[in-house]
Amino acid sequence: MNTSTVEDVAARELIAFRVGAQEFCINIMTVREIRGWTMATVLPRAPKFVRGVINLRGAVLPIVDLAVRLGLPSAEPTARNVIIVAQVNNQQIGLLVDEVSDILTTNEKDIQAAPDVSSELVRSFVRGLLSLDERMISLISLDHLLAAPELEAA
């Protein structure tokens, strides 16, 4: 399900969320549900951004700490944190974020290309930028969320 690319989101809805001080958004069609934070079971030898796994109605759901994944400062999650359950390439993944801030309806023309920077993280996740009332929201793709070079090293 490669639905979070720029072409696909023409006149579609996006779900915006906050991680630390930054705002991000993903295609709402990839979101299966949103739920509160529960303690995750730590997986041995997992990369740092994998918080562990939780029970999602009988399925084992890995939790990705987006802050760690995107190289932002992270804190221990509290009950105020939110997990966005997203469908990525036939798998369901929980994204640990601070809060869900908005649901946006956008047109393709509102999305600006991400600036050409050298940052590996930006290049592998950020698909475009939206500006909304002086807020900058990055449209991110989840395709490479788990498949990261860091993992093979682990």
Binding site: L43, P44, N55, A59
Partner: protein, 707 residues
């Protein structure tokens, strides 16, 4: 999916079933069963495959099935005698038909050479002494092919017909049936109103009338019975021949349950009123005069009841249901815990209702798991062909006996035991049994027997493969093991230990490496796949009398008995099957081999110690031996190790959840499960952890990124 493709899929699924039926039938015939039932079943199977194949224009398949069918028809009409040679040909044809079906499914052409030879053999068979071909009608409707009556003489049939209330309730009309009967010949009809109550007592929808008929006709009994075909079980019917006693069909006794065909006796009140007809009582069940229709009818009833008894369900749906029920079990446990926490008394209504709920959930879980359970028949049915092929290639005479085909086990287990079982059967026929000459010299019959048995024993399925061959040649096995450097030359081994050597990797005893088995990837692979299923394999052998391999497997792969432990503060499940014992280690028994590796002195030996928390990276500090509990476990290839954990919390059955579905395989972890508090707990992969102590595996946990 394209609808035609879906139909095609169903066709091939049905083909598998028909082929299985064909094989079963042929084997029964080989055992000497020549009753029309079996022959008909075999014929029907081939005929159905042919019919379906025609729709999908699988011409090669249709042509071959047709030739096969023609011969079977010959067998059925007793034109072709069932000799062992013919049986062999038929069995080979069944194999070829299976090949054709497979080729059809994969869309490739079947080997023409093999088929051509068989077709030629069939041609010879079909052109046998009496060239009288069976009437085409018989081909179209195999079940309705009774042998014709000896001569068309007029006979007098005494028929007693008493409709039951249900006959009318189903909208049948007695008068129409009697009128139809009248068309067979001259009919004398007596109405019997004796059981008719007075108007005040009459039940409006009851049935009170019965008829006694005398039919003068040239027809046979089947024709008479056909008239009443649609009211089977809805009436009491008795048919007898007046002048000479002829078979009164005993289908009532033969019919399977749920098929109520009451031919006899006429109810007390009606017989009083009918002194004319004396139904012939207790005629032998299989009277030679008219076995056809009776047998055919019984067969028909059997197939129809089989059809209604099963439905095809997508496996995904069943799995979804199983998942949901697993979830229900967890939720129920969580609820119980909450109720307990709330301090509600055990005798209170809530707690009692909860007990009920728990009971119910367990029952639902058992029933749902039973849906996935299937008889091992599907695997067993592949074995006769295998044995035939091995026998043909090795020039041995092998007879396969199977027992307990109906034993049920989870579908995934069935799928995964097929390969090891194939290997074992092949081994038993190839290595286990001697050549006919050797057998005769040993005073045994030339034909060797391989026995395959399945049974349930204490919550597990036990599969046995036994042969009556020479048994394990222990001196040879030991010599080979020494030669291959698997054991020391001066090792002192018990008989049992020697037998178990054949499970070592790289071991093969066959003097001649054959195509069939014996490339040294034999029993160790079998053992590996069995252990992977959570099973165990053992062997017992008596020289001169044969060997028996015993496989014991869990009934399902969906649940597992585990020990709940904690390591470095994390809850883990250790599969119970791997745990040999638990012990409290004493500090003086622990010896350090080097910085990382410690061993525990245990009953004169030394067993490597694995600190679970450290190995999994949960902790970077070694656990204090005296503060820990040790579990002696056995991994793959009987490697033993001692696992150190914080504490043991108990034993429970857990539902296995895949980590790969949403994440990926995690080294050291076999799977996950959900505990009663709703949290995920990880199931330890004992093999991986134990093999981590060996030289080739990285021992330094800090190399692995721990969080």
């Amino acid at each position: 999916m394209d609808p035609m493709a879906a139909i095609r899929d169903v066709f091939f699924q049905e083909c598998e079933e028909q082929l299985a039926e064909l094989e079963t039938g042929l084997l029964r015939m080989e055992d000497g069963a020549d009753d029309p039932d079996t022959v008909n079943a075999v014929f029907r199977a081939v005929h159905s495959i042919k019919g379906g194949a025609g729709i999908f224009s699988l011409d090669a398949l249709v042509r071959f099935a047709h030739v096969f069918e023609t011969s079977l028809d010959g067998v059925r009409s007793k034109r072709i005698a069932v000799t062992p040679a013919v049986m062999k040909l038929l069995l080979r044809a069944a194999d070829a038909l299976a090949d054709h079906v497979r080729a059809g499914r994969e869309g490739v052409a079947a080997e023409p050479g093999k088929t051509a030879a068989l077709v030629a053999e069939f041609a010879v068979l079909n052109a046998g002494p009496s060239a009288a071909a069976a009437p085409p009608a018989a081909v179209a409707a195999p079940v309705a092919a009774p042998p014709p009556p000896p001569a068309p003489v007029e006979r007098i049939w005494n028929i007693e017909f008493k409709p039951l209330a249900v006959l009318y309730a189903k909208g049948n009309e007695a008068a129409l049936l009697l009128r139809e009967l009248g068309q067979l010949g001259r009919l004398e009809l007596d109405l019997n109103t004796k059981s008719l109550p007075s108007l005040a007592e009459i039940e409006p929808e009851g049935a009170y009338l019965s008829w006694t008929a005398r039919l003068h006709a040239e027809c046979d009994e089947a024709a008479v019975r056909d008239v009443f075909d649609f009211v089977d079980g809805d009436c009491t019917l008795s048919i007898s021949l007046q002048p000479a006693p002829v078979a009164r069909p005993a289908a009532a006794e033969e019919a399977p349950e749920g098929f109520e065909f009451e031919f006899f006796p006429p109810s007390a009140e009606s017989s009083e009123s009918e002194p004319v007809s004396e139904p012939v009582a207790e005629v032998p069940e299989h009277h030679p005069a008219a076995p056809g229709p009776v047998e055919a009818m019984a067969a028909k009833a059997e197939t129809s009841s089989a059809v209604s008894a099963t439905i095809r369900v997508d496996l995904d749906r069943v799995d979804r249901l199983i998942d949901l029920v697993g979830e229900l079990v967890i939720n129920e446990a969580m609820l119980s815990q909450r109720v307990l926490e709330a301090g509600i008394a055990r005798a209170s209504g809530v707690a009692m209702a909860l007990d009920e709920l728990e009971h119910l959930t367990r029952e639902i879980q058992d029933s749902v798991m039973a849906i996935r359970a299937q008889p091992v028949r599907s695997v067993f049915q592949r074995m006769p062909r295998l044995v035939r092929e091995v026998a043909a290639q090795t020039g041995k005479q092998v007879r396969l006996l199977t027992e307990g085909e109906g034993t049920e086990v989870d579908k995934t287990v069935i799928e995964r035991i097929a390969d090891p079982l194939t290997h074992m059967i092949r081994n038993a026929s190839d290595h286990g049994l001697e050549s006919p000459a050797k057998r005769l010299a040993a005073g045994k019959p030339a034909e060797g027997v391989v026995r395959l048995t399945a049974l349930h024993r204490s919550g597990r399925i036990v599969l046995e493969v036994a042969d009556d061959g020479a048994g394990i040649n222990r001196p040879r096995v030991k010599a080979i093991a020494v030669e291959k450097g698997l054991i020391a030359a001066d090792a002192q081994l018990s008989d049992e230990e020697i037998d178990n050597l054949i499970f070592l990797p790289g071991f093969s005893t066959a003097a001649v490496i054959s195509d069939i088995s014996g490339r040294g990837v034999g029993m160790d692979v079998v053992r590996q796949s069995v252990t992977a299923l959570g099973g165990r394999i053992s062997i017992s052998s008596r020289p001169g009398h044969g060997s028996t391999f015993t496989l014991s497997l869990p009934l399902t792969l969906a649940v597992l008995d585990g020990m709940v432990v904690s390591a470095a503060g994390h809850t883990l499940i250790i599969p119970l099957g791997t745990i040999l014992e638990t012990l409290q280690p004493r500090a003086k028994d622990v010896h350090a081999l080097d910085n990382d590796l410690r061993v525990l002195a245990l009953r004169g030996g030394y067993v490597p110690i694995v600190d679970v928390g450290l190995t999994l990276g949960y902790s970077d500090q070694r656990i204090e031996t005296t503060q820990s509990v040790a579990l002696l476990v056995e991994g793959e290839g009987r490697t033993k190790a001692v696992l150190l954990v914080d504490a043991i919390h108990g034993q429970r059955q857990v539902v296995i959840k895949s980590l790969e579905a949403n994440y990926r395989a995690v080294p050291g972890i076999a799977a996950a499960t959900v505990m009663g508090d709703g949290r995920v707990a990880l199931i330890l992969d004992v093999d991986a952890v134990v093999s981590g102590t060996r030289s080739d595996a990285p021992r330094e946990p800090s190399l692995l990124e721990a969080r």
